[in-house]
């Protein structure tokens, strides 16, 4: 076996192996997680029982995430019709308080950080949200504040995602996380020429 023969196999193996890892882990955030009414989550976050793919995907998009008993994390990338969330469109996020001690919804740009827009409106949480009668809330997710008292700014966010955090989820929810009725997000309008 010549050095050239071995060297080319090693080099090609490295390119293929590492390339596949980058591709797979890059997509795992939506690929391997469970879907909870369109919100993606992984109940193995932070746990030693997580497989190497789960651990890598969570480290990429949610490093320092807590275990499920402490916090449940859900992220969604698309509206109720499955269309990717984008700053060109305006959305209404509607729901009721999830069964947890505290919750928040935070908007992140595609780079997994808060969008650079200077609006100071990256999130809404249980303590600040204004509720209608019956406890329902509506959050306006758009590039500009408008008709709703609750606003999360998507300005300069490009393709974005929303992360729902449930701190200290109630025991009943932990028994069956799929029983969660998370907020629903619907597209209200999009800038002219856009879907």
């Amino acid at each position: 076996m010549t050095l050239r023969f071995l060297g080319s196999a090693v080099l090609m193996g490295l390119v293929l192996g590492v390339g596949a890892a980058v591709l797979i882990v890059g997509r795992l955030a939506t690929f391997s997680d469970s879907s909870y009414s369109g919100w993606h989550g992984n109940e193995l976050a932070g746990q030693a029982a997580a497989d190497i793919y789960t651990r890598a995907a969570i480290a990429r998009t949610g490093l320092l995430a807590l275990t499920r008993e402490e916090t449940l994390y859900f992220t969604r990338y698309a509206d109720a019709d499955g269309v990717a969330l984008n700053e060109r469109c305006s959305y209404l996020l509607e729901g009721t308080d999830p069964p947890a001690r505290w919750w928040s919804v935070t908007l992140y740009a595609a780079d997994n950080y808060l969008a650079r827009n200077g609006d100071g409106a990256a999130s809404m949480d249980q303590t600040r949200v204004v509720r209608a009668e019956g406890g329902r809330f509506r959050i306006w997710v758009a590039a500009a504040a408008d008709r709703e008292p609750n606003w999360i700014s998507s300005r300069n966010a490009g393709d974005f995602s929303l992360t729902l955090r449930l701190y200290n989820p109630e025991p009943g929810l932990l028994e069956d996380v799929h029983s969660l009725r998370p907020p629903v997000i619907r597209t209200v309008s999009c800038a002219a020429g856009e879907a």
């Binding site: 196999a9 090693v10 293929l16 797979i24 882990v25 998009t61 320092l64 935070t106």
Partner: protein, 173 residues
């Protein structure tokens, strides 16, 4: 077996090893990157509890930070001995968590599970820890300890900053 077949089999074998190795190593690498960012190029020492500014769009050390939480962070190294970790009392949600070098949660406790401050001694297996505090064994020499306090507005963040002055990450004595 032809030369081409042998080359393909060898390439696939190396690809599998490289693939599994890089997926396994990714969390270690990402924790290392986060640690270096949190230490701000050596400006913040290891085994020291620091209180970053309130999370804004400028926060770029750790992905998906919550702007509704006030954090205290300690990048730790247990090579010189056990550490005393303390999260001072807070009148709302608060937790102390410890993450190993591979990002696994080693320990987490919140204010409902521990009246007042949350205190532990963090040690490697086999290290002699002083008596009097709960000892948590870390599977890795390095990692990150994190205090989270619910502080969704500036006034609460200011109050959390005052409380965080009582947080500790220091050699256990």
């Amino acid at each position: 077996m032809s030369g081409v077949t042998r080359w393909l089999l060898l390439t696939m074998a190396f690809a599998a090893i490289a693939h599994l190795g890089s997926v396994w190593a990714a969390p270690y690498l990402l924790m290392r990157v986060a640690t270096e960012r949190l230490q701000m190029g050596g400006e913040v020492r290891v085994n020291t509890m620091q209180q970053p500014d309130r999370v804004t769009e400028a926060a770029r050390a750790v992905v998906r930070p919550s702007p509704d939480l006030a954090y205290s962070i300690c990048t730790f190294d247990l090579s010189q001995g056990p550490l005393h970790l303390r999260a001072a009392a807070w009148d709302d949600y608060m937790s102390l968590s410890v993450f190993a070098a591979n990002s696994d949660v080693v320990f987490v406790r919140n204010d409902r599970q521990s009246a007042g401050a949350i205190e532990i001694t963090l040690a490697l297996d086999g290290q002699r820890a002083p008596e009097g505090r709960e000892v948590v064994i870390s599977p890795s020499q390095t990692g990150i300890a994190l205090v989270r306090r619910l502080a969704p507005d500036q006034a609460r963040f200011n109050a959390a900053t005052v409380a965080a002055a009582g947080d500790i990450c220091a050699p256990a004595s």
